[in-house]
Amino acid sequence: MTQLLLFNVTNGLIIGAFYVLMALGLSLIINLSGVINFAHGGFLALGGYLAFTLSPFLGFWGALLVSPLLTAALGLVLERLLIRRLYGRDPLYSLLLTFGLAFIFEDATRFVWGAQGLPVTIPDFLGQPLSPDLFFITWYRLFMVGVVAVSVGGLFLLLRHTRLGIRIRAGTLDLETVSTLGVNVGRLRALNFGVGIFLAGLSGVLAGGQLGLDPTMGAGLLMPSFIAIIVGGVGSLPGTLVGGLLIGVASGVTAVFLPSASEAVMYVLMALVLLARPRGLLGEEGLMT
């Protein structure tokens, strides 16, 4: 029983780490641009599929780096052509637009790569378990957590110490003032969007290595990310981090006792948070309400 619980908590943390990576990208875009990017799941799937196509040429490691970059490049193009027009309008419109994009993404992936699931080949040694005692943790899972930790650490360093990061944080609080101070807000939003989509692409490659690829994978992972953001508090990146890990562990532990409720428990958690602390665990009142 302890073994089982340990297994599921670890599992939950790993899945939670994964939700965090996806949700942080979404969160960045929501905070600075007020856009709920429904197509985030589509970008995620695209990242995974590009890795599938590229890995025979670049190997797993090359694909791990290049496909998120390509995904981000496509994100920048779509931001420039479509999403940029909707900044400052009712969030309804950007939500509908990205919703439509999500449909097109899913259909396009199905058209190009087929409806059947595909694997992303990972290096052999990553597929091994850590040890016979810890049979349930493969090196790949540990590697996933490592990549997430590095990315999250990198993101927070970027936000804290670089000029771009400081501007993003300032823009989240008061975009108008940042603009008055001579910052090119259009470019700032574009870069921020690109960073968010890069994280989505990276999540896609990681997810592909663990779960395999299928056209609906992005849509399935979108809801947990939303819940992670709401639980942590819309507007707070550390909140998203906490929220993601929390719902991962909660659904992992629930899977031990009541497997069929492992999805529902996230929603229960969200309802409880909204009851007890409507702004979210680390959210600030007045910001993004």
Binding site: I36, R85, S94, L95, L97, F103
Partner: protein
């Protein structure tokens, strides 16, 4: 109901005449009666959503949940409670309406993007429940094994189970009652207050209007209306499946409202008609309906953000 008021009586009158005669002209133009019934039901759903979207200015993106709960409520009532169509409608409406009112109380303090995200996420709870609770809901295959029943009122017998045209008129009657109630609601002081909240929430608050209470009541009423539509939808198909609860249907309903014109009373019905007819036509031509509908979303947002009626009205005043 400033929208209908401004265009004057002819437009609503024309709509009612078209709806009343639908079974006669749908065939000759290449349609069929069940298509008309679908338009009515989804139009009613989009109009219910528009009470919030267009008239209160609150972005709910999870309304399929209440629609689907209405559908499952009606189906389960027919299957397990009694073979009665009115009872199914009543129980379906209550299921979605009560659930909406309860969850609505949790989320009315949020606004804008936050509200949209919470409604999307909560909407999915019911999808997972319907998907997982196989023994009750039939899971992924959907709820089967029920059928709408004829209605007998004293000497009158309505053959809505077998006769599609009779069912169309039954749905049209239900539609008329619901839409009439909505129009009354929007004309009442309560409805005017909702408009005030939409236009300037802060000013409404300073005038002493309990904004959260109003939004909560509007949310609950919108849920009641849309679950009524959902119950009708289950009766139309004699079937309910988890997709009735999925957020992609919520998106479809929002796009119907936007496409038709969410600032007008009848806009969502027009949007639903265009959407349903396109869906019927395009999915007979290609399997890539998803790309098509995705493209429709993008084009509507970029080129018709005011909706069809919005454009017409602009040209009318220009």
């Amino acid at each position: 109901m400033s929208a209908a008021g401004r265009t004057g009586a002819p437009v609503p009158l024309a709509i009612w005449v078209l709806l009343l005669l639908a079974p006669f002209w749908l065939g000759p133009v290449g349609g069929y009666t069940a298509l008309g019934t679908r338009v009515l039901v989804l139009g009613l759903a989009a109009m219910s959503l528009n009470l919030l979207l267009g008239f209160t200015g609150v972005l709910s993106f999870g309304h399929a949940a209440w629609f689907g709960l209405g559908a499952y409520g009606a189906g389960l009532a027919l299957k397990f409670v009694a073979l009665s169509t009115p009872l199914a409608l009543l129980l379906g409406t209550l299921t979605g309406g009560l659930a909406g009112a309860l969850l609505g109380a949790l989320i009315v303090h949020r606004r804008g993007i936050y509200f949209a995200m919470v409604t999307i996420a909560f909407g999915q709870v019911f999808y997972y429940i319907a998907y997982r609770w196989n023994s009750l809901t039939g899971g992924d295959d959907g709820l089967r094994g029920f059928a709408r029943q004829d209605i007998t009122l004293g000497p009158w017998h309505l053959d809505i189970a077998g006769n599609g045209t009779a069912f169309y008129y039954f749905v049209l009657t239900c539609f008329a009652v619901a839409v009439g109630l909505m129009a009354l609601l929007l004309r009442s002081p309560f409805g005017r207050t909702l408009l005030a909240i939409r236009e300037n929430e802060r000013r409404a608050r300073f005038l002493g209007i309990p904004v959260e209470l109003h939004i909560w009541i509007a949310f609950a009423l919108s849920c009641v209306f849309i679950s009524f539509a959902g119950a009708l939808y289950a009766l139309l198909n004699n079937f309910a499946d988890p997709n009735n609860l999925h957020y992609s249907l919520s998106g479809d309903l929002v796009i119907m409202a936007v496409l038709g014109g969410m600032r007008s009373f009848w806009g969502p019905l027009l949007g639903a008609a265009v959407f349903v007819v396109l869906q019927d036509y395009v999915s007979s031509l290609t399997t890539n309906w998803m790309s098509f509908v995705g493209l429709l979303f993008v084009l509507v947002v970029l080129f018709f953000p005011r909706g069809l009626l919005g454009i017409l009205r602009r040209q009318g005043t220009a």
